[in-house]
């Protein structure tokens, strides 16, 4: 192999020479490297951490389906409507929901009724609570976990059963210490059977408060819809796309479909949850970008400080090896060969520092994961490859920049004076 790639072989020999020097001064080499090690370690761990946090936050939002969903709300004619077409109000109907369900790229559709605050009477007390009308599967799509009993089922919705799922944060107010499942409550004077309780969703990291989800009472939307708006009508349809990438198309197609079915009337409104999420994510990105700038600055300064350490040690190395340089020149080494010798040493040291630093960064990540486990959260932080690449590139640049002057100085030595050891 060496015969086929002579330049590669010569380069490798330079690295071997450099490693020999590194081994000859282990302590000095370690001290020289420390700055670059810390710089690389912080670069790798911080970029990985930032990336992992962003991904976890996104996963949190993704888990409740927000980046993939929108709601079509029945709104009625606009207050300034005058033309006949604008004044028409066919309203959202179950047929609209079925039509939306059969669009390509749609994962699920759920009827919804935002509900209102109603008086709820229960064994342990009476209070005002938000009663929301939902479809079967809605709590599951939103990842609101059922704490006890069961969720609302398709049959409940179809039969307009008077069953309710109560949020866990209402539980003690309404039932005290007793088990709510199987009890009867009255909502606006109508008796409902409590079939289950629902807890707020838990997130890995996203700083979103979803406790309100557990302060509501969920009943079949068909009950509220009939109760409020009359048979066959819906207040809203939640549409969830298969993937976030298909979302845009599904949103557009759904809007057009409903408009077409309503004969061109704009009697509905789209609540784009995905766009809200994107806005939140963009804000998070902005914060992360600021954080990244600070981090890169710190890592950069550390690496430059490391480079200065490298620089001074290389100057010492050149001074120590003046005689050796003279001998090498007497044996036929030209200035370039001497320069390469010291640049290789500088680059090798810097690269070693980067490699050790990347290992150190991985160690910091493991420690972070360990600490997160102690707090009951299992962060899985992947090493961010661009951070690793950046650490290596940065270290190589530092090695070249700070190795250049000592190498040049070594190359310029006069062989006779150098052999004499002047």
């Amino acid at each position: 192999m060496a015969e086929r790639f002579p330049r590669l072989a010569a380069g490798w020999e330079l690295v071997e020479d450099a490693l020999r020097e590194v081994r000859a001064h282990p302590l000095r080499s370690v001290l020289t490297l420390s700055g670059i090690v810390f710089g690389a370690a912080s670069l790798v761990s911080m970029t990985s951490l930032a990336r992992a946090m962003k991904e976890m936050a996104y996963r949190d939002l993704e888990s409740i389906g927000f980046p993939r969903s929108y709601v079509v709300w029945d709104r009625g004619p606009r207050s300034d409507a005058q033309r006949a077409v604008d004044l028409r109000h066919p309203g959202l109907r179950l047929a609209d929901l079925e039509a939306l369900r059969h669009m390509p790229g749609v994962s699920s559709v759920h009827g919804r009724n935002p509900g209102t605050e109603m008086v709820v009477s229960a064994p342990a007390g009476q209070r005002l609570a938000r009663v929301e009308g939902v479809d079967a599967g809605y709590l599951e799509v939103r990842q609101f976990p059922i704490a006890a009993g069961r969720s609302l089922r398709a049959l409940d919705v179809m039969r307009v059963s008077r069953v309710a799922v109560v949020g866990t944060l209402l539980q003690s107010d309404l039932f005290g210490a007793a088990d709510p499942v199987g009890r009867t409550i009255t909502i606006d004077g109508v008796r409902f059977l409590v079939v289950g309780t629902v807890a707020p969703p838990s997130f890995e990291i996203a700083p979103i408060d979803f406790d309100f989800a557990a302060r509501r009472i969920y009943v079949p939307y068909t009950y509220l819809t009939r109760y409020r708006d009359g048979q066959g009508r819906l207040s809203g349809v939640l549409v969830t796309a298969d993937t976030a990438t298909e979302f845009g198309r599904v949103l557009q197609a759904g809007t057009m479909l409903v408009r077409q079915r309503h004969g061109g009337a704009e009697d509905f409104e789209i609540e784009n949850e995905a766009a809200d999420v994107q806005e939140d994510l963009a804000m998070a990105d902005g914060i992360l970008a600021g954080w990244n700038v600070v981090m890169y600055a710190i890592a950069g300064v550390t690496l430059v400080v490391g480079g200065i350490g490298l620089f001074s040690v290389l100057l010492i190395s050149v001074r120590e090896r003046v005689r050796e340089i003279g001998i090498r020149k007497a044996l036929g080494a030209d200035d370039g060969a001497i320069r390469r010798l010291f640049l290789a040493e500088s680059l090798t040291l810097a690269f070693l520092g980067a490699v050790v630093g990347i290992g150190g960064g991985a160690g910091l990540i493991l420690i972070t994961e360990f600490i997160s486990r102690q707090f009951g959260r299992s962060f899985a932080i992947a090493i961010h490859p661009p951070g690793v690449a950046l650490a290596i590139v940065f270290a190589v640049i530092v090695g070249l920049v700070f190795g250049w002057y000592p190498a040049r100085r070594a190359a310029k030595l006069d062989p006779i004076e150098a052999i004499a050891g002047v």
């Binding site: 060496a2 002579p6 072989a9 000859a24 001998i327 090498r328 044996l331 030209d334 200035d335 370039g336």
Partner: protein, 224 residues
């Protein structure tokens, strides 16, 4: 046949502050291929300067110098380094071996600066020379594990590994006891018998007497 070394009017002047200090004042000398020549003179006579110029470590201020048919007095930098590498083998008074390299690596070192000689071939040539000089058993040792005489013979092997036209020895026995010195001189004489051209600088008349011919230097001139 053309002389291997042909120097005409070599002058070297060092500038110390405002003063010009002449080290060589017009040296003419020739050395034929296969000769064993000693350059002798008291310290400060300019013999070391002459050897540095003949060995292409330094260039003359004036005069011409032909080495193996090439006018090297006009060479500098990379070209001069290549002349040193290909034409000249140096042996120093203080051996000047690389302390961190073993014997074989030390001997092979000049071939590294020739370019294009693969490592296996460099190793091969170093081993062959060490065998010829009776140092095969020392191949893996570091210089500080060798005796003075052995170190100088390793240095001679290193000087010869590139098959130079000329072997330059600067006080090769200066740092050795008489026994080791005799051994090294015997090696040099043997190389001469094998056809090598040798230029040796010494201030020791007994050592100089081993050479075929002596060039005496005093005050920067050839006096005999």
């Amino acid at each position: 046949m053309a002389a291997l070394i042909a120097a005409r009017g070599l002058t070297k002047t060092y500038r110390l502050g405002q003063v010009d200090v002449p080290a060589l004042r017009g040296v003419d000398t020739t050395v034929d291929a296969g000769e064993f020549v000693a350059i002798v003179g008291p310290s400060g006579s300019g013999k070391s300067t002459l050897m540095h110029i003949l060995g292409c470590l330094d260039t003359a201020t004036a005069g011409s110098y032909h080495l193996d048919g090439e006018d090297v007095s006009r060479f500098a930098g990379k070209r001069l380094a290549q002349v040193r590498n290909r034409k000249v083998g140096f042996v120093f008074q203080t051996f000047n071996l690389m302390p961190r390299l073993n014997v074989e690596e030390n001997v092979a070192l000049p071939l590294k600066y020739r370019g294009g000689v693969p490592r296996s071939e460099r190793r091969e040539r170093a081993r062959a020379l060490l065998e010829r000089l009776g140092l095969s058993h020392r191949i893996g040792h570091r210089p500080d594990e060798l005796s003075g005489g052995e170190r100088q013979r390793v240095a001679i092997a290193r000087a010869l590994v590139g098959s130079p036209a000329i072997l330059m020895a600067d006080e090769p026995t200066g740092n050795l006891d008489s026994h080791a010195g005799a051994e090294v001189l015997a090696t040099i004489e043997e190389l001469h018998r094998d056809g090598h051209t040798i230029v040796m600088v010494t201030h020791d008349a007994d050592v100089a007497a081993r050479a075929q011919r002596t060039i005496h230097i005093a005050d920067g001139r050839v006096v005999a």
